[in-house]
Amino acid sequence: MVEDERGRERCRTGIDALDNILYGGIPRSNTILLTGSCGTGKTSLALEFLLHGAIEGENSMFISVTEASEKLLANIIPYDFFDKKLMSGNKLILVDLPMIYQRLGLVKAELSMEEVGLLVSSILDLIKELKVKRLVVDSITSIGYKLKTQEKIRDFILKLAKGLSTAGCTSILVSEVSTGSEAYSTFMVEEALADGIILMGNMERRGDLLRTLQVIKMRGTTHSRAKYVLDLTPVGVLLVPLLKGGGGG
């Protein structure tokens, strides 16, 4: 079993400390749930994962569900390593999901089971056509609101994760949870289906608010389960261990 873990190809996130936590990176083709409340840095971390992939020559796609990609780009941290050429060269591809909904005629407030299948097929076709090796969906929670039932959400994630794995695509599904929530996802099925869970949070300690990151599970590798404090900087996400003597979470 240990040999299998060592042998599993890794998808380096490019965030040094996170790669160290994961003993080399996310196992290739895994689907990860990146979860946390608002303002914890989920989108920034996910985008950095894609940028490093694009720089390394892997086609990387960001599917934005609620926010227009232009607005997203305008608001991201001015990363030192961000180069607009990555977009013109199709290494970094930004897709607005509402455009796909429109093209497929998925205009109703709630999708049927058939329409869920159609949506998954369309995303997977894009992945295969553009040879995408890294994908971020921001957020799976927003898609969930259009699917409504746990059954349909389960079906969507299962089909998507299976298709992505077959295509050799490592993916991050961003999940939003409310502040103080004990759960890792809104609909409770996302966390059970994902190969890994990375939890981001805001931790208050004696009046100070710290951004934290913790890898809860990651199939295919051993990993640290400790809590880390993070900073979003122009050189990327930086992490240091949470000081235990400091109390709090």
Binding site: R205, R206, G207, D208, L210, V229, L230, D231, T233, V235, L238, L239, V240, P241, L242, L243, K244, G245, G246, G247
Partner: protein, 193 residues
């Protein structure tokens, strides 16, 4: 040889990736800072990250300016200005940490500045352990020092930990000694006449 020159000479002998405890008398505090900045940032082409929990970035740079010491290669992590509710205007040379209790953020800001400075030789000056001890328990301070110094050492960065003798308890002194390779002591009355 003046006290400042002696301290300067001893600091210059720091081997790479070492951590040194610089224990100074209260009267020698400003001279010690001046000696360190003058050697490292002005005379030797070394990037200095100055973590200040004692006096604000603005006050230190004003002092250095008055002494005509070039501090252009010094980058500051100021963790006291916010707490004092004093002006904390962002500048190219300074990053602010909201409070000296946010020890993890001190490590993160230092890490950021070290990454930005590239491959040059580097020194981190921690000013001072006494100020950090006012805001943090010995437990967490000890943990912080261990992680911080070990991490800097593993990256070949020199660390200088400043403490003021008159304000340093035996426990605090032991804590610093535990992570440091050597100690430089400097107090006016200790100098031979």
């Amino acid at each position: 040889m003046t006290l400042a020159n002696r301290v300067a000479a001893e600091i210059e002998e720091m081997p790479p990736a070492s951590a040194v405890s610089l224990q100074v008398g209260v009267d020698f505090y400003l001279d010690a800072i001046r000696a360190v900045i003058d050697i490292y940032a002005s005379k030797r082409d070394i990037e200095v990250v100055y973590v200040t929990a004692t006096i604000s970035y603005q006050a230190i740079t004003d002092i250095l300016k008055a002494l005509e010491i070039d501090s252009s290669k010094v980058h500051f992590v100021d963790c006291i200005s916010h707490t004092m509710m004093s002006s904390s205007m962002q500048g190219s040379q300074v990053l602010f940490v909201e409070s000296p209790t946010m020890l993890e953020n001190i490590m993160l800001k230092t890490e950021y500045l070290l990454r930005k400075s590239g491959e040059k030789e580097k020194l981190v000056l921690l000013d001072s352990i006494n100020s950090l001890a006012i805001h943090n328990s010995n437990n967490v301070l000890s943990e912080f020092l261990h992680i911080f110094v070990s991490s800097l050492r593993s990256r070949n960065v020199n660390t200088l930990i400043l403490s003021v003798m008159e304000h340093t308890s035996q426990e605090l002194s032991n804590m610093v000694n535990l992570v440091c390779d050597s100690t430089i002591r400097a107090r006016e009355e200790e100098e031979p006449k």
